[in-house]
Each structure stands twice: as C-alpha cells, then as structure tokens.
Symmetry: C2
Subunit: 273 residues, 2 copies
C-alpha cells in the first residue's frame, strides 16, 4: 500500500483509526473458547464489525508468538482475512544486523503479507535499510513511546541539547522519505508533537496510547495532523475488550464508531475532508 | 539456569562458546531438504556434534519466524532437543510496553523454555522489568552492537560527554544485578570493552561477531574477561555453514573444536581453569 492509497482511504472513510489486535486468550469473551481457534474467531468478529470504520489493523506479535506455532497460524489467517484496502501493521519492534533484518522483512512482508512493521532504531541505519527495499512496504520507527520509562532513554540530551529521539528522527530522514517511513509517537507525548512536526512535517505518525493508556484524541490530532491528515491513531484495549458477552461484536462496533465519528469531525473541521 | 551454573559449565567444559543457530533453508546442505523438517535435522546434527564443546546455543528468531507456524514448530523441537545443562538464548531483540513485554517473556521463557532473551533498551526500564521477574531467567540487553551503523545511535554523546551505550549500561545497573542481566557487546568493539568492564565488572557479556563478522577471539577475551570468565562468545556462520556435504556434522565439529580449544587455552592462561 503506498502513501497516496493511505491518504485516499483516510479521506474516503473519514477515519484515521487503527485497531490494535492485542488478542489475548485470557481476555476474549469466554464463549469463544469452544472454537478450534478462538483468537481467530475473535479477530474475525472484530474485523467484520469495524472494517468500514478503520484504515488499519495492528496485530501485536507478542500475543500470537505466545501461542507458538498455533499463534502463527492464527496470525496468518487473520492477515488473510483483512480486506486489501486496509493497512496491515506488524507491531513487532524488530531491528537487528543486516542479514537478520532482511529475514524479518521477508517474514513480515512476504510470509505474512503485512504492509508495515514497527522497528526499534537502536542499531542504526543498516538495521532499518533492509525493510526499505520492499516496494509499497513501510518501516515505522519508534521515536517517542508512550510508556513511563521511555523518557529515561529517549530524552537523553546530546552535546547540542537535542534529545535522543530528535537525533534519531533527524538521522533517519536521510534513510528514505515519507513514501515508506512512519514514526511511532505516544499519544501522551503532546508536548513533543509540535517539535516532531517541525523535523518531519510530511511523514505519517503512528500514535498509540489513546484509550486504555489515556491519550486525548482531539488534542493530539490538532498537534500532529498535517494537510494530508498525516496521523494514524491506534486504539486497542478500549475497543476490542469493551464487552465480553456473546454480542461483543456490536459493542466493539459502537466503541469504534464513537472514535471514528470523532475523527470524522476533526478531519472535517481541519478541512481535510 | 543461574549465574553459578553458567560459571560451572564454563569451567567444566573449558569453553565459553555459544553457537548461533541462524539456520536458513537456503544455506543448509541440500541433502537435508528431503526431510520433513530440514531445519530441525540441521540443528539436530549441529547439536549432536557440538553439545560437549559449547555452553550455549542461540537460535536467531528471524530464521524461524520466516517459516511461519512451521518455523515455530522447528524452534520448539530444537529447544526440546538441547541438553538441560546448555544455556538457551533467544536472539529476539524484543522490548515493548509492560503488558506486551510480559507476553514476550511468557513466550520465550515458558512457551519455548529459553533461559535468556536479547532485548533492545530503547523503551527503557519498564520494557525490561517483566523479563527480570522470572526465576533463573535472563535479560540480555543490547549495549554496543557489531553492525556498522550501530555507532550512529549508540555512540551519541550526552551533555557529560558520555556515550548513549554507557548511559544505558549505567542506568540498567539499577534494574537488577549480574544474577540475571547480561549485555551484548560486539566483538569488533575492542576499544570500548575496557570501558564497559569499568562500569560493569561482574556481569556476563554476550559477544557476537567472531568468525564471519571478523572479531579476534584472543584480543576480545583478554579485554572482556573477569575472574569468572564473564564472557560468552557467539560464533554462527563460520561454524554452522563451514561445509555443505553429507558429512557436514564432522566438519562443524572440527570448526567448533578449534574455537573451543583456543578458548580452553585462554581460560587456562588466565588461570580461570
């Protein structure tokens, strides 16, 4: 999926919502446990009830790997079930030496047919490069994450007073362009969003942390958006676990719809649609 | 496996060799392709021929994930096949927000029964903490890696002139102790090894990059060792792919033996054994 297609989907749907598929056997509605593959049944119902409301799904790899080979089968079936016009993000936070990164790129872009993968920048450019060589596939680099300890490392200042995450974003702009690089910025990093937009006005930002993690959608949208929207906001737990009855699909739809409607209003008032 | 057990195995075997199981369908001897699970057959022969020479095996997750659910089955079978007294390292370079890191910890320590996992420190302490809560399991934190671009990020200096990798090592000493934390330091980072030993004299270092990546065993051993050895040196490609005939097991054994004998000599001359 390329840059223009993502922009088209956002405008067409009036949504920049990504739903995180952090699907956990211990948290899904109990009635699903009678199925052969309960996690897939859960994901299927989530997808059926939200596919017209979202522009992206983001399976979190940890929740599939924990189930070993069965988890990988569930992941593959889930990816195959997601409609083609929806952006598929592997939340995997990989990053390794070149030949290993190439293997990860093949894993996520070919074996599983994801459009994008989240990556840790700690090993530098040559750990990211292999992901940038696949046509219409994306590297999403961790910049400033939403967890409490992130600042201990990501905000370390260099000799010029520049924070580590700023140095990383600046360095990375030489690796490729807005056409295949996005950045993860936590929804609770409001104070830094304007600063980030100064360095990379055009790249998409993937913003997790709205919902269970407490970020404010309107605020971060106003700070992070550009003229093409330029943000994809992820919500996981507060949508997928909003209900545990046999009718959870409808409740999930209502929860997603609420966020989507708010997004549509923001897109409208920002004159993007 | 705890700290004392690792020290015992090193002294008992006269070896601090870790063999990296970066097992790739395109690189293993062709005759293995007739088996149902060629990668497992390959790993089995490597293990049969080296288990008395090594103290650790390090499967590289990318090489298993690329084969989807079959890859996870291969990985599980491989882990089950490794003798109990050998340290099992998941080279996975994970690191995520707390609830996701906990899932990864369960994946590697419980589902697959690894003893240790490599972790990226970019997200800070709370992304590492969940791994430190499992008894006799280890977090191995990336400090200074062997790839060319690593220095772009890892050597960024802070306001006190301290490099990023030093700040991370210093910070992390507050997270736990030598009892369950090791650090990855590339074999080509000789100039920094003495410096690292000043900050963490007691922790084990996992040193990849000897062999195909060009590090010098004797030099890095002299710089990195402490009175309990304190280093585990990984060799992957130059051992596992040293031959592609039907007799590759014997050649692998000879290659591993060469490294092991050199290690034994170094342990002896350093009066560790």
């Amino acid at each position: 999926m390329n840059y223009d297609q993502i922009c088209y989907e956002i405008k067409n749907k009036g949504s920049y919502l990504c739903v995180g598929l952090d699907s956990d056997l211990n948290k899904i509605p109990k009635y699903l446990l009678k199925y052969d593959d309960p996690i897939f049944e859960f994901n299927k119902i989530i997808i059926d009830n939200t596919k017209d409301l979202v522009v992206a799904y983001k399976p979190n790899l940890a929740f599939y790997e924990v189930n070993g080979s069965q988890g990988m089968r569930t992941l593959k079936k889930t990816l195959d079930y997601i409609p083609k016009n929806i952006f598929k993000i592997a939340d995997a936070k990989r990053g390794d030496i070149g030949n290993t990164s190439l293997m990860y790129a093949r894993t996520f872009f070919e074996t599983f047919n994801f459009d994008a993968i989240t990556l840790s920048p700690y090993m530098g450019r040559d750990s990211i490069d292999p992901f940038l060589e696949f046509k219409d596939k994306w590297a999403i680099i961790l910049a400033l994450t939403s967890n409490k300890s992130a600042k201990d490392i990501q905000s370390i200042k260099n000799l010029n007073g520049e924070q580590l995450y700023e140095s990383i974003i600046k360095n990375s702009t030489e690796w490729s362009s807005k056409k295949n690089m996005m950045y993860v910025v936590g929804a609770n990093r409001e104070d830094d969003l304007l600063n980030i937009r100064k360095i990379i006005p055009d790249n998409f930002l993937l913003i997790p942390g709205v919902g269970a993690q407490g970020g404010d959608l309107k605020k971060i949208s106003n700070l992070g958006m550009n003229e093409n929207c330029g943000i994809i906001v992820n919500v996981s737990r507060s949508i997928i676990y909003c209900d545990d009855s046999i009718n959870f699909g409808q409740e999930v739809r209502l929860s997603a719809m609420k966020v989507k409607n708010q997004m549509q209003e923001i897109l409208f008032s920002s004159r993007i649609i």
